[in-house]
Symmetry: C2
Subunit: 621 residues, 2 copies
């Protein structure tokens, strides 16, 4: 360690003490929160924010700022305290912690410009850090990414997905620190203070590992410097710490997780003890170093959404999953912010079409859906437009990440292929029948479900052109192209495919069931009954006005048909849209656990084929 | 290896060849499936089923049979082939693979009595194996549990959760085998044939590790014997194999994942090659050894559901999460099949009350929700009644496991605490606002949401008394006890709490919103308006008849109010129940990403407090 840095040590120790004081005060004021968790991390945060990291405190949006992810999100008060110390916030503001009118929430969220991804669901920060580190590569920046984990959260498998992916990608611009304070919420953590139990695992996963005393500032600074000099792989600094460090009557004690000190004597005793820990400073800590690169403009929105018209002709046959891959590849050539991630199924989701044309922006996460989603979150937070894809069924594996992406309102564009029973013989484990429910439940996730190649391609472009978390559901079977290449598809729209003044009912389909509805139309027409047929390609937001109009024009008889379970999908979406106008919906959906079989057999067996639509119309008409 | 076993080797080699032939034939006949994945595992499966494992092929329900979990579920054809070899199935039946009228599905499901848990979503089998191995401890059996993993799936974090938990629990009755064939679906697996890359990780996680040639029968038998003799920790046998082994023109080639051999020349060439691989047998393989223990009765249903009446009095104040823990503890004393699992939040979910009274049936999974759910699945498959609990928000982490538990129709009883914005200051990362949508989407999951201590206790008993996957949502805040100790709560019921002949509307609440509805009732009553108030404690199944009756009696005006996002929750459930009768629902729900604040502030800010109910009634009444 350079002399220049050694002389900062007393000042950094004092920073750590101030961080403890602020964390304790703000949580006592709030009456809830996790002061003991903050205290174990005080030297780590001091060393990172006031010696190691390079960033401009006045410029949170500088693309070259070093980044910090607080994976142990319940230590939020110390993050806020660090910002106060850096002059980003006033100290008074810290006392608004957890109040309804303050953005200093119980766990950090990107309402605050220095937060990239919301944390608080443990085990997610490292995956996000991978995405942030990948983004540095993408934009050619030498910013570094730091992730602070708790020890307890390393029981989460998602951490080991990230461990593998980070090492596989050789992310030497990523440095993680585990605050090994040996105490979880309900008792000792899995490996307590056995530092070797941690070290052997991280080494086995290919990381450079340092083990340090997490309250020893020079040791931390040396380990951070060592990480910076390590090439070809990420570093994990395992910091042995004491929970509640600095407050003798809670240090290392179980039962102090998530418990503020009581205002009054208890708080005053703690503060008095902490105040006594200040040391004389050789020199004050200097302000943080600026980013290594001069301020440059953030990437502006390029030509996203303006790809050439689809090459399909009406009547061609193409699976929407394949059209998805094609659209993504076209988009990738137009806009360098677009990146793709996949989980060993690129030849099924057709994200391989993107890889073929933009290999340096394609990231293989192997069979690790959480790491894939987490990396996409980090990439999105830093300006990329990531499209993570896998079988729609396996996005359920990452639902907690999706939930946190929604809380963060990140610009992540998810694609799930192989939706519904129409995949056929592979059976229920491979069929997504709850993905619409899962995605729709999040109020800010856009949910798209195109039925043909043209609408797929147009909607992929729309996904890139608009901000926010989005999901596209694609299908395995080939389907006929219905739309001409110039047809326009807006998010929140629908298409009326068949319409007459005499329609006996409105049938709302999406994806494969659009074609069942069209078959039913022909069948009923032959018998003299007209029906209205809707392609509901945008499920959330939904075109309520058009649905109400159609309901009104078809005697209030609306039938939905979906290759999805009955709860939470298209039927419920349409019902909620129609309810204010007083219309109800008859729902055709999959109502039991399905089995293997041929696609057409399964559509029929589970009640969503043309025959069932005809019956429903005839019952109601 | 004993001489007796050595002399079986040629016969076992021939078994492996027959398993290959059957896997190739059945997938070619089906026109889909994964023959190359079966071929790499043929010697492993032969050694397990025809030398190592002890089971009675005529008695799938024998509680002391050794158990096998095919975590790499896409190798289903070789599992079915093994059963045919054991005489459990006829060989002809194998040719019905993947047909709609056959239980030989694309991936194994418990429709087949030898399958404990459905597989096909990779990375789940080892957690299930942990549960099955724990069950052996619970019932005092010396049966052993074997899990066959693919190499690609070990990129899933869930595998490393299981690695940690299995070692932590010292499960020496568990033996896993990884079929390291080095090829995934879309290309090489993460560590290809670097056996040491696998070995170092499993050793680091505390497992006994053997590395063998997976096509060398004596080596496999020796490794299995070594595993059986290893005490205090589970074993991982890393078997180096060749994908497509035995068929020269697909061996080790990319592009043959999930691809059957074409009937005709291609198939015939493969079969001819395989036929040539038969060797002279010294002695035929004997039938499988019987279980070590004589057949005993399966556990019969004991006193589940008949616990003593709740001790709460009307007007007491208790959080439903605490009442859950109390009920579980009472149940645990009555019924030894009941077990509890938690993920480091036992002092928040109150599962610690169970631990205090039945510590040997409480399993700590640390912060590893997937391993917790997977272990619960395995326990349930073998006759236990597991109650895994964590914050409801963190059950999203295990949604893919929940999905597979539903496909398996397992008797898993999930409990999620800290539902909704009513948790307050911790903020959105800790608030479950999509759990009802997630659970309801699965058509066979029972969803319960009690509002007070008595209903919670009664419903926990009901959960144990009835078979199938179930979910109970509990709340953080204390709520008043509404019901007397003798009140009865049936799954699929509801309670009408306020009712008159003049009700202007029906207000349907559940959990914390029941009390908002009751406040609204008082407020409106003072202004001269009567409303009907319903406690919808059973959301799935739902008492549609009572809801329709109430709608009819209150002029068709129905308002739902829920501490959950708008899509997929109570509003949608009630709307679907009322739709056939032509009634619609006005939904009060959380419609944006919430933030930190006090519980009552948040209920009000997000539109689900008494004040909003009053407005909704007044708008509609």
């Amino acid at each position: 360690m350079a002399v220049q840095i050694a002389s900062r040590v007393p000042a950094l120790k004092n920073v750590a003490t101030r961080l403890r004081i602020d964390s304790v005060r703000s949580t006592s004021e709030a009456g809830s929160g996790h002061p003991s968790t903050c205290c174990s991390a005080a030297e780590i945060v001091a060393a990172l924010f006031f010696s190691e990291m390079r960033y401009d405190p006045r410029d949170p949006h500088n693309p070259d700022n070093d980044r910090f992810v607080l994976s142990k999100g319940h230590a939020a008060p110390i993050l806020y305290a660090a910002w106060a110390e850096a002059g980003i916030l006033s100290r008074d503001e810290l006392l608004n912690l957890r109040k309804i009118d303050s953005d200093l929430e119980g766990h950090p969220t990107p309402r605050l410009p220095w937060v990239d991804v919301a944390t608080g669901s443990l085990g997610q920060g490292l995956s996000a850090g991978i995405g942030i580190a990948l983004n540095a590569r993408r934009i050619g920046s030498d910013y570094r990414t730091y992730v602070l984990l708790g020890d307890g959260e390393t029981a989460e498998g998602s951490v080991w997905e990230a461990a593998h992916v980070g090492a596989h990608m050789g992310l030497d611009n990523l440095c993680a620190i585990t605050d090994v304070n040996a105490l979880g919420q309900a008792g000792p953590t899995q490996w307590e203070h056995d530092m070797e139990a941690y070290a052997v695992k991280w080494r086995a996963f290919g990381w450079h590992v340092s083990v340090v005393d997490g309250h020893d500032v020079p040791a931390l600074l040396a380990a951070l410097e060592d990480a910076r000099r390590t090439k070809g792989r990420p570093t994990m600094i395992l910091a042995r710490t004491v929970k509640g460090k600095g407050i003798s009557f809670i240090e290392g004690l179980n039962g102090w997780h998530g418990k503020p000190l009581r205002k009054g004597d208890e708080l005053q005793r703690a503060l008095a003890e902490l105040e006594r820990q200040f040391v004389p400073e050789e020199e004050p800590a200097p302000p943080p170093d600026a980013p290594r690169t001069a301020r440059r403009a953030s990437e502006h929105r390029a030509a996203a959404g303006t790809i050439d018209p689809p090459a399909y002709r009406v009547g061609d046959s193409v699976a929407t999953r394949e059209a998805y891959g094609e659209a993504l590849a076209k988009l990738g050539l137009k806009d360098i912010r677009v990146v793709a991630l996949d989980a060993d199924v690129k030849n099924s989701t057709y994200s391989e079409k993107f890889e073929q044309r933009a290999p340096d922006r394609f990231y293989q996460a192997f069979i690790a859906e959480q790491a894939m989603l987490g990396a996409a979150m980090g990439l999105a937070a830093r300006g990329a437009i990531p499209f993570p894809s896998t079988f729609a069924a396996f996005l359920t594996r990452a639902y907690d990440f999706i939930r946190m992406a929604a809380i963060s309102n990140l610009n992540v564009k998810m694609a799930g292929s192989h939706a519904g029973v129409s995949i056929g013989e592979d059976g229920p484990s491979q069929m997504a029948l709850e993905d619409l429910a899962m995605m729709r439940a999040q109020p800010n996730i856009t949910v798209l479900y195109p039925c043909d190649g043209v609408s797929t391609e147009r909607l992929v472009a729309q996904m890139a052109a608009h901000h926010g978390p989005m999901y596209m559901r694609t299908s395995r079977p080939k389907t006929p192209v219905l739309y001409g290449p110039d047809e326009r598809f807006d998010i929140g729209g629908l298409k009326v495919l068949r319409e007459s003044a005499d329609d006996a009912a409105t049938v709302v389909g999406a994806g494969v069931t659009v074609f069942e509805a069209l078959k039913a139309y022909e069948h009923l027409k032959a018998k003299g009954t007209a029906i209205r047929v809707i392609d509901l390609y945008s499920i959330q937001p939904i075109d309520a006005a058009s649905l109400v109009r159609c309901a009104r024009e078809t005697g209030g008889r609306v039938i939905t048909v979906e290759d999805h379970y009955a709860a939470g999908g298209i039927g419920d979406a349409v019902a909620a849209a129609l309810a204010p106008a007083g219309f109800t919906v008859a729902r055709l959906a999959v109502r039991e656990i399905p089995r293997s079989g041929k696609p057409e057999e399964l559509l029929d067996r589970y009640g969503i084929s043309a025959r069932h639509i005809v019956s429903a119309v005839e019952r109601g008409a």
